[in-house]
């Protein structure tokens, strides 16, 4: 099984190199794309197996379509210049030609041949990416789309987190895509093509990152008011970094007596209806799990850095930062907000 899998992957890689060979030579612009700073969601700077295969296929397709454009566009431009009406010419009509079966046949056959080539190439890549066998050491992550944030569950590791996905480099990660409400789409261009999260219709996709780093993406299927601010961050860690992260996430929430007031606010206001903190009475599932809130770099699905000021602003009125968000402003007093921020800041 293992060897078959490796052979399959190797064939896909060989195939994509073969495709890319003529394309990269001609498209000098490709080099410029590759030098762009890492992290920008550019689909032509892939950092993961499916995205890489797709990028090579796209260069091949671009080469063919580009050639067609040059040839047909060139003929068209030539005809326009060559056969323009000249003022000195007599006003008689040019010879009338009504058609030619031979010519028509010729230009029917050529497009057919091009379509055959493109189709066969495309079909091979579809099967190579979509039907790639799942390796046994693959990491499983369940992704649940919510209006307007991402929930990530690692069922075998017992981890629940939100908006920031951590995966190890070079290992295949299989993402099981579910939705809690409407349609969403998981898209991190440098890692893989997008796959939709549709309620009552589980989907699956996979990534196998080649380089460590932070990769940005966002929801790619309109899902309501704040669709634009449903951002995604994928951290590709080294195996040891990932192991450390997993170990940290598996700890229960910190119980710090010095912020008991904030915790009281958290548990007595309506926060617990939607949010969970492992090891406390808070087990809500409508909002992100906050057990390790401080281990995340951003708030509100990636739209602002996770700083105490932003956290304060967010709790005071989420609509300020993200108009249309489903989290209500709880009408807390300034003191309550301060206590709450102090409490949340301990959830490392």
């Amino acid at each position: 099984m293992e060897s078959f899998f490796q052979e399959h992957r190797a064939r896909a890689a060989r195939l994509s190199r073969l495709l890319a060979l003529p394309a990269t030579g001609i498209l000098a612009g490709h080099a410029a794309w590759a030098e762009m700073p890492q992290g920008q969601p550019n689909m032509l700077t892939p950092a993961s197996t499916p995205a890489h295969t797709i990028a090579n296929l796209s260069l091949f397709v671009l080469l063919i379509t580009g050639s067609i454009f040059v040839v047909v566009g060139g003929l068209l431009a030539f005809a326009l210049v060559r056969y323009r009406a000249r003022p000195q010419e007599d006003t008689s009509e040019p010879p009338q030609i009504y058609g030619s079966t031979q010519v028509e046949l010729a230009w029917t056959v050529i497009p057919i041949l091009i379509v055959v080539v493109l189709f066969l190439t495309t079909a091979r890549i579809i099967f190579a990416v979509q039907d790639a066998p799942k390796p046994e050491d693959a990491l499983d992550v369940t992704v649940v789309g919510h209006q307007f944030w991402w929930e990530f569950r690692y069922p075998k590791l017992g981890i629940v987190t939100a908006n920031e996905l951590h995966v190890p480099v070079r290992t295949a990660t299989y993402l099981h895509l579910l939705s809690a409400d409407v349609d969403h789409s998981f898209w991190v261009p440098q890692l893989a093509g997008k796959t939709d999260l549709i309620p009552n219709h589980p989907n699956e996709t996979w990534i196998q990152p080649e380089r460590t780093g932070l990769y940005l993406g966002q929801c790619a299927q309109f899902c309501g008011v704040e669709h634009a601010q449903m951002l995604l961050r994928v951290y590709v860690d080294t195996p040891s970094e990932f192991a450390a992260w997993v170990e940290h996430q598996q700890q229960p929430g910190v119980q710090d007596a010095s912020v008991a007031a904030g915790r009281h606010v958290f548990e007595t206001e309506a926060c617990t209806n939607c949010h969970a903190v492992a090891g406390t009475a808070a087990i809500g599932t409508f909002g992100p799990d906050l057990t390790h809130l401080m281990s995340r770099d951003t708030l509100a699905s990636g739209i602002v850095p996770n700083t105490p000021e932003n956290l304060r602003k967010w709790i005071h009125d989420p609509n300020d930062l993200k108009p249309g968000v489903l989290m209500p402003a709880m009408q807390l007093s300034d003191q309550q907000v301060d206590e709450l921020v102090a409490y949340l800041s301990t959830l490392r």
């Binding site: 969601p41 689909m43 040019p94 030609i97 009504y98 028509e104 997008k194 790619a220």
Partner: protein, 564 residues
């Protein structure tokens, strides 16, 4: 030769039409409301389309202003979502569908030598029903208020994927207005399509066999046939949506076992052929204009007809290429890759035939021809980006990105709107009896061309850089700011060009040169009537012998019927 009867009886009559009797404003308005004349209804359709072109254009500019810089707070997300939903719905249904039937109504009966459409009263009914549908859609700005207070237009995108349209996620009545207006317009469209089919099949003048029918009439026939089987699935799925929203049905209720995928299939079974419904008539326009201004007969007429029919049939089997990312099986994906790529073959034939028509001609670069030439280049690119998008793995990346927006605006603007402009410049003299200004026309053309390319060429790149569609704002760290500013500037240029065009239409009506019956030295029947044509079109029924009856008239020594 004085008593020689023309093959086309009543042709080349240069006597000006009798002056209309003086009427009061009320009588004049009443005349337009109760009219069943295909020409007046055609003008009404076109006026409606142009009015909403301006409205939809303003919505586009609002969208572009908002996106001109990252983290812009010009309008909020609610307004933005309403704007792009209304922009899409308006442009497809209130501009696209209306212009088709505008041209179809005015030109087709004249072209086939008929005195009116097959069913004049059905024609008027269809127009007013469609017009009512449009008003219903825009009334949602006033009557659609839901949770967000006053005035909530539909904000669920024009493809309105379930379950976002369910009562739970779209409270208020905005979505109801959207669904009901599309049902109303759907029936209006169905009526018009039936009328055009009956007109082209049953009202042709003597001698006009199907294989002598002008290509525009042919393409209207193909389009109407396609409309019959595409607009009706939309109507059916809108009825289902209304049942869900009003009667508590579960068609698209994912909580009760319903499937969002079902809506997607139903919508795109309509949605993809719809693109061809919009673009095929403009192929017809190009197939009339390009020969006249190249001074050559269309190359390969039978192939053009066959390719059009072929496109219509193939287009019915490609819809799920809009759904490569919803998790279809690899076999399913592969099937739709193949069917989609097959569209490229008849489309390629068409482009080659236009090229061959130009080849060896004597091209006159008048405004209609300029728009058609730009169409040829742009449609070539649109077709090639279409091939790119049909490559399913690449589509997994490109789907719902700005690359897709760029692609379909290349079709909808670069091909369709350019050809609509070409058609308006071409037939305006027939409709009003006056020429449109060439100077303003050329200004309009070049400005619009520049604006178009600045906007939509750039969109391809911002799409490759990973910008998804339907987002009201974006993060500065994504690096999309500069390109978006460029796109917005291009939009502004297009806006100015469209205003020039509107001014040209109005000013030329009063100050334009007298056109005469045949200003372009053209060949189809409509140019044998006075401009504007009398109510009855032809005093006696014309008789034709070839595809170019006026060529036969003008070249009696070498008529077309010897070669066909």
């Amino acid at each position: 030769m004085a008593d020689q009867t023309f093959p086309i009886a009543g042709s080349i009559d240069v006597t000006p039409p009798p002056r209309a009797e003086k009427t009061t404003l009320l009588e004049w308005l009443h005349g337009w409301v109760v009219t069943v004349d295909h020409k007046r209804l055609g003008i009404l359709y076109m006026a409606y389309a142009i009015l909403f072109l301006l409205v939809g254009g303003v919505e586009a500019l609002v969208i572009r202003l908002q996106l001109a810089s990252p983290h812009n707070r010009f309008i909020g997300p609610e307004t933005f979502n309403e704007m792009f939903t209304m922009h899409g719905t308006t442009m497809v249904f209130l501009v696209g569908m209306m212009y088709i039937f505008g041209f179809g109504n005015y030109i087709v009966p004249l072209m086939v030598g008929a005195r009116d459409m097959a069913f004049p009263r059905l024609n008027a009914f269809s127009f007013w029903l469609s017009a009512f549908g449009g008003l219903l859609l825009y009334y949602s700005f006033i009557g659609g208020f839901g949770l967000y207070g006053m005035g909530a237009a539909p904000d669920v995108t024009w493809w309105a994927y379930a379950p976002l349209t369910a009562k739970a996620f779209s409270p208020g009545h905005a979505t109801d207005y959207w669904a009901l207006s599309l049902i109303a317009m759907g029936f209006g469209t169905l009526g018009s399509a039936i009328n055009i089919i009956a007109t082209t099949l049953s009202m042709r003048c003597r001698g006009m066999t199907l294989m002598r029918m002008p290509l525009f009439a042919w393409l209207m026939l193909v389009t109407s046939g396609l409309t019959l089987v595409t607009i009706t699935p939309l109507t059916a799925s809108q009825i289902m949506l209304v049942i869900d929203r009003y009667l508590g049905g579960h068609f698209f209720d994912t909580q009760a076992g319903g499937q969002a995928i079902v809506w997607m299939h139903f919508f795109w079974i309509f949605g993809h052929p719809e693109v061809y419904v919009l673009v095929l008539p403009t192929f017809g326009i190009a197939s009339e204009i390009i020969p006249v201004f190249s001074r050559k007969a269309i190359f390969g007429y039978p192939a053009m007809v066959a390719a059009s029919v072929g496109i219509a049939f193939v287009s019915l089997g490609v819809w799920a290429h809009h759904m490569f990312t919803v998790g279809m099986t690899s076999v399913g994906n592969t099937f739709f890759v193949l069917s989609t790529m097959l569209v490229g073959i008849p489309t390629g034939i068409k482009i080659f035939n236009w090229l061959a028509t130009i080849w060896g001609g004597r091209i006159r670069f008048k405004t209609p021809m300029l728009f058609c030439i730009a169409f040829l280049f742009q449609f070539l690119i649109a077709g090639l980006t279409g091939i790119i998008l049909s490559v399913a793995p690449w589509d997994w990346q490109l789907h719902n990105s700005y690359f897709v927006i760029a692609h379909f605006h290349y079709v909808l603007v670069g091909a369709i709107v350019f050809n609509i402009f070409a058609g308006i410049y071409y037939w305006y003299p027939k409709v009003t009896g006056r020429m449109m200004s060439e100077t303003l026309g050329k200004w309009h053309f070049w400005l619009f061309l520049i604006g178009f390319h600045v906007t939509f060429d750039t969109m391809h790149f911002v799409g490759l850089e990973g910008m998804p569609r339907s987002i009201f704002t974006y993060m500065p760290d994504r690096g999309w700011g500069t390109l978006n500013l460029v796109i917005s500037l291009g939009g502004l240029i297009q806006g100015i060009a469209v205003l020039l065009f509107a001014w040209n239409m109005v000013a030329s009506y009063f100050r334009g040169k007298e056109a005469g019956s045949d200003p372009w030295d053209a060949w189809t029947l409509e140019w044998s009537t006075p401009s504007p044509p009398p109510v009855y079109n032809y005093a006696t029924d014309p008789v034709v012998h070839s595809r170019r009856p006026l060529w036969d008239l003008k070249h009696p020594d070498d008529p077309d019927w010897r070669y066909e």
